[in-house]
């Protein structure tokens, strides 16, 4: 493709009847005016005897020839500017996950979500540090051999492939900060006596991530997710159909749920072993929208 200037020039050539001195012009910047040896370009640079007899301050900010402060100092922000507002997804490697399963910290027959991972006492999330969940990293993908039903908050492609290669299921799911507070320390949350909140939908730029079937987003179309599974299987060289486990696929969590089997709005009393559910219609309505 031709550059814009060249295109315009050629178009001009097609349109003009003839080229004359009046039609032709140099490209901007190719010719600079020759500097003469007096005035601003002379020996005293505009500060000579005739200038000193007049009021002559120089340009705004001029500091008698030394570099002025507005040019000396840079408009730099601190290097960790915005760190308090950045969403963090601390990594959880496949190696760590396999180790936790092998040492019986995690039960593979049950779904593994944020509450289960934080409940092991080995993986931590700190909502006060803006940590929104776990990022499943591919470190240890070659030795991962567990068949799991996994729900994390971020996952890279090789991690997804490693889980699906072994016949497991992985979903990436968004937890807003209050849901993280609830799930990261489930016991502490349930003891506080608050009703279980409903999980909020992902904000702006994260919605794209969770709607994408390639990321196994929880808001993605299941048909597209299956197609992406096949694509990934072809890419990394494994077959998926022979290892499907219906029991594993039967674990389901609604996008508004934080804990499996517990609905938003319920108050769970572990000590009394009872669940208190809201009766009023307007309260129920809030938790079911």
């Amino acid at each position: 493709r031709m550059s814009g200037v060249r295109e315009k020039a050629l178009q001009y050539l097609r349109e003009v009847p003839r080229l004359t001195h009046g039609n032709i012009r140099n490209l901007p910047g190719t010719r600079t005016p020759k500097k003469r040896g007096y005035g601003q370009n002379g020996k005293e640079r505009g500060w000579g005897a005739s200038a000193r007899q007049k009021l002559h301050f120089g340009p705004l900010g001029y500091e008698s020839g030394s570099t002025p402060i507005q040019r000396k100092t840079a408009f730099e922000r601190s290097y960790n500017y915005g760190i308090h507002s950045v969403r963090q997804f601390p990594p959880l490697s496949l190696y760590q996950l396999q180790l936790a399963i092998d040492t019986n910290r995690l039960d593979v027959t049950k779904p593994i979500d944020m509450a289960a991972l934080c409940g092991t006492g080995v993986f931590f999330l700190d909502p006060s540090k803006n940590q929104f969940g776990f990022n499943l990293s591919s470190d240890g993908m070659d030795l991962f051999k567990a068949k799991v039903h996994l729900e994390v908050q971020w996952a890279d492609e090789q991690a997804i492939a490693a889980v699906e290669r072994n016949g497991g299921k992985i979903t990436t799911s968004y937890y807003d900060i209050h849901s993280v507070i609830a799930a990261s320390d489930a016991f502490k949350f349930l003891k506080s006596g608050q009703p279980i909140p409903r999980r909020l939908t992902p904000p702006g730029n994260l919605l794209e991530y969770y709607i994408n079937p390639a990321n196994r987003g929880y808001l993605a179309d299941p048909v597209m997710v299956e197609k992406e599974k096949e694509v990934l299987a072809q890419k990394y060289g494994y077959s998926i159909s022979d290892k499907l486990d219906d029991r594993l696929l039967s674990f389901k969590k609604d996008p508004r749920q934080i804990f499996y089997g517990l609905e938003p709005g319920w108050i769970v009393s572990v000590q009394d072993k009872t669940i208190y559910k809201p009766k009023e219609a307007d309260v129920k309505q809030i938790y079911t929208t």
């Binding site: 910290r105 289960a116 409940g119 070659d142 808001l219 048909v223 599974k229 890419k235 996008p255 804990f259």
Partner: protein
């Protein structure tokens, strides 16, 4: 007695697994965001699609038809490179490959016939990275590229415009050669002094 995964429930003195067994992992709760409401046309658990059979190579390779071997990679790396089987070797017998259509197979044999083993097996290897998974993906990519390049039409050495320029250039060269040849022969003829008027 207990599995350590239920640390969060060590509340009372009598700890038990009963709480978890009571929890159901698929409840009836359905908000407006549940998948069957967001995507009503899609079935709940979609089955994988059927393979499409065509004369061209779609890129799909049935993984059970390839013989995969894993071995240790070469190069520096100490204990890790000596112990971890990261090198991937993929093989398949071209003639008896059911996943290649006859047309595709013929072109593959034409291009890579001399590169197959004595028994007619195509071999693709990779030890490019430190991970077996990535090396396997690399080997498959190499295999797909090889098959596609066998199917691609041979690229002409020059484009049509370039061919035209070359043809015109040859004619011009011939014209110029003859032009200077005629000039030289005139010069020579004038030097000989024949048929001059005295």
């Amino acid at each position: 007695m207990l599995i350590r995964g239920i640390r969060c429930l060590q509340l009372t003195e009598q700890c038990s697994r009963n709480y978890l067994t009571l929890t159901r992992f698929s409840s009836a709760y359905k908000s407006p965001l549940s998948l069957d409401k967001l995507y009503p046309a899609s079935p709940g658990n979609a089955k994988p699609g059927t393979k499409d059979v065509s004369s061209e190579f779609s890129g799909q390779i049935p993984m059970n038809e390839l013989t995969k071997t894993y071995s240790c990679s070469s190069g520096p790396g100490g204990q890790n490179v000596n112990k971890v089987a990261t090198k991937v070797d993929l093989r398949f017998h071209v003639e008896s490959a059911s996943w290649l259509s006859p047309g595709v197979k013929a072109k593959v044999l034409e291009k890579y016939g001399s590169e197959l083993t004595k028994d007619g097996w195509m071999v693709v290897k990779s030890d490019r990275t430190r991970s077996q998974t990535l090396n396997q993906a690399d080997a498959l990519e190499k295999l797909r590229t090889a098959i596609r390049s066998a199917l691609a039409a041979p690229k002409p050495k020059f484009t049509a415009e370039e061919e035209e320029r070359i043809r015109k250039g040859k004619l011009k060269a011939a014209r110029e050669r003859l032009h200077y040849k005629r000039i030289r022969s005139d010069v020579k003829a004038q030097r000989s002094g024949r048929d001059q008027m005295l």
